[in-house]
């Protein structure tokens, strides 16, 4: 972890237009929850559906995409990354720092908005708010690592990330039973299910699989990012 790299990365993420992209979805989640509360009143089933489909199913992967790729891909694209790489700092340290920045941004935004939305709908009932908040935080950390890796693997990280988030996580992970085991979204829901006692919610992936899977995916993605950064080629304008 390098504090100067972290400082520059936080400034890049929070000091410009990207912050509006980051807070758009969390604000939409809370606004939607407030609207549903006004229309439906206190309804646990509505709360669980909103948490599953919007908080974990939509907001989390998109936040992961924006923050995970955003902490590194634009710098590689425009060449500013040279300022960080042409220094006597090991590339894996830079990768870990970028990951910490992305993960912390996603975790904070996802946690605050998920808890606030669920609390607005049903308070602390059945542990829905706490459960989904935990799922969102840990799922967000895994997404940060995966999208960070995408950011250094391809120049089309956002396009590939959207396809991954929508097709794999949204369609395949949601509807193909066997593929659910390999979906960050499902792992996040599995964590939420551990705390929540809601009868409207159950998951297929066991905690015994979800937690190790999350840890392995996160660690492998960050280590791979470090290795990729070590061999990152930056050509001139010949």
């Amino acid at each position: 972890m390098n504090t100067v790299v972290a400082d520059i990365t936080y400034r890049a993420m929070l000091g410009r237009k990207r912050i509006w992209l980051l807070i758009l979805l969390p604000v939409a989640l809370v606004a939607l929850a407030a609207l549903l509360r006004l229309i439906n009143g206190q309804d646990e089933q509505t709360a669980v559906t909103l948490m599953k489909s919007f908080a974990i199913g939509t907001m989390l992967p998109l936040l992961g995409l924006i923050a995970g790729t955003g902490v590194i891909a634009p710098e590689i694209e425009d060449g500013t990354i040279i300022h960080l790489l042409a220094k006597p700092i090991s590339r894996p340290v830079i990768a870990v720092t970028k990951f910490v920045v992305a993960a912390s941004l996603i975790a904070v935004l996802a946690a605050v908005s998920t808890y606030a939305a669920a609390y607005l709908l049903i308070g602390s009932e059945s542990g829905v708010a706490a459960g989904f908040t935990l799922g969102a935080v840990l799922g967000g950390v895994a997404y940060a690592a995966v999208f960070l890796l995408l950011g250094v693997l391809t120049r089309h990280a956002v396009a590939v990330g959207v396809i991954y988030a929508l097709v794999w996580e949204g369609v395949v992970g949601g509807y193909v039973p066997g593929a659910r085991k390999f979906s960050i979204q499902q792992w996040a829901q599995s964590l939420a299910d551990q705390i929540s006692s809601s009868p409207f919610f159950s998951t297929e992936v066991t905690l015994g699989f979800a937690v190790p899977a999350m840890v392995v995916v996160t660690v492998v993605a960050v280590v791979w990012t470090g290795r990729r950064l070590r061999s990152l080629s930056i050509a001139g304008d010949d």
């Binding site: 410009r16 500013t80 040279i82 042409a86 006597p88 050509a235 001139g236």
Partner: protein, 317 residues
């Protein structure tokens, strides 16, 4: 071709490329280049697309040679982040963190290098490039030349032994250019190894005491700039002359050994000149003696491409 630049008295800051090639798919960007860059200022000269940036990026550790080796004081450059304690790099790309002020940018560079007094080092570097007054402004408000100078300050902040600059004078106004040229010259005299790329010969000869010429990815020439200059002047030139009597002028010119071929075309007389100095003195004198008026005298192959092509054909002979 193996060459050595200005005398290397110590083994500090010596960049060595040994049979280095770099290709992208079927395209060869740098082809079997061997060169040694020692202390002093070396200009890497070549037309656009010659492979200068590719070569510089391999020396800076941002590209792996497809074959051959690139070392700094005997240590491999690729996959070795410790070399950045010795190297300062000014990339050609203009992009810098626009949301930082000049001061924050250079200070961050000092901190990333882990310097003991980063603020002092940043102040010194900004002062060196005359950017102290503008350092509190965000970089996104800077002109191209100011961005270039702040990048130079960030590259110099750790007082590197080796400084690599990719087209450093691009976008600078004449005063800024002269100032940076003076700075580069001074640092070279202090014993640093400085390599900068350029496609402008005049720029290189004003600063560098040694020139490496790259053409189409190949190492075309190497040596003192006066030698390169002489070889450029001595190459055969093709002149087109329009006059009041082309035929008489052509007959007179073919009789002198300074020209190897003279032909009459619809556009005038084309003269293949082998002795540039003699021809430029002979032509006006001959025209005066013959009573022929000269309407136009123009070199037809003075573009850099043809100059470099001549050098590379000479180097392969």
């Amino acid at each position: 071709m193996t060459t050595t630049s200005s005398p290397v008295t110590t083994r500090q800051g010596v960049l060595e490329l040994t049979q280095v090639s770099r290709w992208y798919g079927n395209v060869v960007a740098v082809n079997d280049v061997t060169m040694t860059i020692g202390p002093g200022v070396t200009g890497l000269l070549g037309p656009n697309g010659a492979g200068k940036s590719t070569l510089l990026h391999m020396m800076a550790g941002f590209l792996a040679p497809s074959s051959g080796t690139a070392t700094l004081d005997g240590r491999r450059i690729w996959h070795n982040h410790e070399i950045y304690r010795q190297i300062g790099l000014v990339p050609e790309k203009e992009a810098v963190y626009g949301f930082l002020t000049g001061w924050q940018f250079v200070l961050s560079s000092a901190r990333l290098h882990g310097l003991p007094s980063p603020a002092d080092a940043a102040r010194r570097a900004l002062d060196l490039v005359e950017m102290t007054d503008a350092s509190s402004r965000r970089i996104e408000t800077y002109s191209k030349g100011m961005r270039q100078r702040v990048k130079v300050a960030a590259a110099l902040v750790h007082d590197p032994q080796v400084l690599l600059l990719d087209e450093p004078f691009n976008g600078m106004d004449p005063r800024q250019r002269l100032h940076l040229m003076d700075l580069v010259r001074r640092m070279g005299e202090e014993g640093r190894t400085i390599l900068f790329s350029s496609h402008i010969l005049e720029e290189v000869e004003r600063v560098a005491n040694h020139i490496e010429v790259l053409v189409a990815g190949r190492h075309a020439a190497s040596g003192d700039y006066r030698e390169i200059r002489r070889r450029m002047a001595d190459r055969p030139h093709l002149f087109r002359v329009r006059s009041s009597d082309d035929r008489r002028l052509a007959a007179a010119l073919i009789g002198d050994p300074c020209s190897s071929a003279v032909s009459l075309t619809e556009q005038g007389v084309e003269v293949q000149v082998t002795d540039y100095a003699r021809f430029t003195a002979l032509l006006p004198r001959t025209a005066r003696d013959l009573g022929v008026h000269l309407w136009q005298v123009s070199p037809t192959d003075e573009d850099l491409e043809s100059v470099f092509s001549y050098l590379i054909s000479g180097s392969s002979r």
